[in-house]
């Protein structure tokens, strides 16, 4: 097996994960990308989506992040995410409820609130998607 890399997930209130993994698939703003040990140094924005942690050819953990930043360098991959949670903890009902609220808020929002509401809709959509895809 190839070398491992250190994966870290940090939120403003805590260091959520710090472990050795084989590969991390990160939802970058321009598309998902996998990070293996020895990856070239990269800085990227994240979109709302699922971070998959691979070990021994299998996804061992999936985490949902609502945007943030990723840095890969020196055999480590650091994610800065304002909000993150285990995909297994997402309730499909909660996610779709959030989407509905977000869509309603988007419809009611004025010019200034539009962007924020659209952002919230994107996050909620990604959450619903993550919840529905989890079993597969």
């Amino acid at each position: 097996m190839a070398d491992k890399l250190i994966f870290e997930l940090v939120s403003p209130s805590a260091l959520l994960a710090s472990e050795e993994v084989d590969m991390v698939v990160v939802p970058g703003a321009d598309g998902d990308f996998g990070v293996l040990a020895g990856h070239a140094p990269v800085l990227s924005n994240l979109r709302a989506g699922v971070v998959d942690i691979h070990n021994d050819g299998q996804v061992t953990k999936s985490l949902f992040v609502e945007g943030g930043f990723a840095e890969a360098a020196d055999g480590r991959c650091t994610l800065l995410a304002t909000k993150a949670q285990d995909v297994a903890d997402i309730s499909a009902d909660d996610a779709s409820a959030r989407l509905t609220t977000a869509q309603e808020a988007g419809a009611a929002a004025d010019e200034n609130g539009k962007a924020a509401a659209a952002q919230e809709v994107t996050v909620a959509e990604a959450m619903v998607f993550a919840a529905s895809n989890r079993a597969a």
Partner: protein, 301 residues
């Protein structure tokens, strides 16, 4: 000698005050511990964010002026001061030292002919500045950190600041808060957050991990682009700075309250000792004088 009864009630009232202050001290001590842990937990995020920003700044030093948050508006006419205090009192000089600093700052700026706007986090700061600068206070946030400071609260304050900055309401933004040094020491710290002070880059390269990553830093790839990352990273950094200030301030508040209440408890103890002594003396004097009266009465017969 009706005085004896008065002394007794006095002693019992001081005793109950002492009970209250010592209970408040205990509460403050346990809150302080939690607040301190929260402040420490927030550190990794802030450190990594600073590292990212400094690595981008090193690469994009030439393209300065891309973001207003970084370069400022080019003017310094209107200053926004964010005054971070607590909602509740009984914490020694915690709030008054902040408002003193804020007041001095406002006066200096006004003398220099600048406009000053105020954003108060915490009710006490607003109360203390209201009499003099009521017209300058734009908004007050209350109830922050009642059950521990959360990132959402910092987010709300920071979004307000960014919103105001984007609509050109001010040029320079400074946070004034108590930095936590230890349970008995808090330092009033003014920190400029807009435009971002350049020493951010210098400070972080001195960090412990810097030597190892010094080489590859220059060769980062940026996805989608440096400017786009920077445009998201800078507001995020601002939120973190606000979050940090709130955390520091909350830890300081509990520390200050703890030592204030410790003093109060000790003072109450001294007072009780003094009062008890007076009480005993008065009682003895009373007994003595009653004896003399009885004896002299008996002799007269």
């Amino acid at each position: 000698m009706a005085n004896l009864k008065e002394l007794k009630t006095r002693i019992s009232s001081v005793k109950s005050t002492q009970k209250i202050t010592s209970a408040m001290k205990m509460v403050a001590a346990s809150r302080l511990k939690r607040a301190q842990e929260a402040a420490e937990a927030a550190r990794p995020y802030a450190e990594r964010m600073e590292r990212m920003i400094s690595s981008i700044l090193e690469n994009t030093a030439a393209t300065e002026g891309g973001s207003k948050l970084l370069a400022g508006t080019g003017a310094e006419d209107t200053h926004l001061i964010v005054v971070v205090t607590s909602d509740r009192g009984l914490c020694g000089g915690f709030n008054s030292s902040i408002s003193r600093e804020a007041r001095n700052r406002i006066r200096d700026l006004q003398v220099a002919g600048k406009n000053v706007k105020l954003l108060c986090v915490g009710r006490k700061g607003r109360d203390q500045l209201k009499s003099e600068f009521n017209d300058n206070i734009l908004e007050t946030y209350e109830g922050i950190g009642r059950s521990g400071v959360t990132f959402d609260e910092a987010d709300e304050v920071a979004n307000q600041i960014i919103g105001m900055f984007d609509s050109g309401e001010f040029d320079v933004c400074t946070l004034v808060y108590n930095k936590f040094v230890s349970a008995i020491t808090q330092v009033v710290t003014p920190q400029q957050i807009i435009p971002v002070e350049i020493n951010v880059a210098k400070e972080t390269t001195k960090g412990d991990e810097a030597p190892a990553s010094e080489g590859p830093i220059a060769t980062y790839e940026y996805e989608p682009s440096e400017q786009e990352i920077l445009s998201e990273l800078l507001p995020e950094n601002l939120k973190i700075q606000v979050f940090r200030a709130l955390l520091e301030s909350s830890a300081s508040e509990h520390g200050a309250r703890m030592s204030a209440m410790d003093n109060a408890t000790r003072n109450a103890g001294d007072m009780i000792d003094g009062l008890t002594q007076t009480f005993n003396r008065t009682r003895q004097a009373k007994i003595t004088s009653e004896l003399i009266e009885i004896i002299s009465g008996a002799e007269a017969l």
